[in-house]
Subunit: 139 residues, 2 copies
DNA sequence: GTAAACCCTATAGTCAACTCTAGGTCAAGC
DNA sequence: GCTTGACCTAGAGTTGACTATAGGGTTTAC
């Protein structure tokens, strides 16, 4: 009925290595994953969902130790709802800031693309350097 | 006439530490910075400009070794114009990809903000879980 | 004239996030 | 029944990017 996945299958699905998944587990990011009698991890569909959230937090630049805090809060139930809400609101703000930052980075890069396009057309970078030569004020 | 800056001034201006700047120098990112007789680095206005480009490349996710390649190309003159153009075009593509990625991350985070907002209003996370209870098909 | 506040090099240490190795278990296929 | 391949743990090693320390030199402020 409920499909169970091995660590290898989950790794493939999420584009991670099994090493990484085991490392996350060791760091306490996956307390919800159950085990077979022999120790083999048994991933449920919902575990993969949780890992996707972890990946999202990682993509937002959150360090693993902070992600662990969040996971702990999830285990603690409703008493931590406010904390979790606040955390996501804060994440939202930092991602917004990152977007702004990236936009600025993009502007500089686009300017450089243009710079090198014209230099390439002219065959030399000097075309930009001569731009900047200060014209001596005639008497 | 032409203002010269110390490593400390440059560090402050670019929000880096002097350690970081010296580390960059050691990694070959600043071959253009001249030295006083006693070894003190003398930064020109244009050096700060170059460092801003380096910061931009760093912000785009480029590792320091690759930035060094670019700096080397700059020292090699016009023969490397094509490489440099190609590099910035590639950077542009990766930054675009990062923006896409961030947008997806943002969507998930916003969804979670909403999820926790409603949970908080309801006083329990169960409001979302009960959503998903499969209604047993009556006979 | 000396202490503070810079500068320098060389080298060691730190940190996060993996990544791999050694040594072992277990199930499936031939 | 034994090899192959996937799983396990504990722990060591790697990488990138700093960050700090030790030891030493100059310039500035009192």
């Amino acid at each position: 009925m409920m499909k169970i996945f091995t660590i290898g299958e989950v790794a493939k699905e999420l584009n991670l290595t099994v090493y990484t998944l085991r490392y996350y587990d060791k760091e306490g990011l996956m307390p919800f994953v159950e085990r077979a009698a022999n120790g083999t991890r048994l991933f449920k569909e919902s575990d993969i969902g949780a890992l996707k959230i972890i990946e999202c937090l990682k993509a937002s630049g959150m360090p693993i130790k902070e992600i662990k805090n969040f996971i702990d809060w999830c285990s603690d139930g409703d008493s931590t709802l406010q904390k979790r809400y606040d955390m996501f609101m804060e994440r939202k703000a930092t991602v917004e800031a990152q977007m702004e930052e990236l936009k600025k980075t993009m502007e500089v890069i686009e300017h450089k693309c243009f710079y090198y396009k014209t230099a390439l057309d002219a065959g030399t970078e000097d075309i930009h350097k001569t731009d900047k030569i200060e014209i001596p004020i005639p008497n």
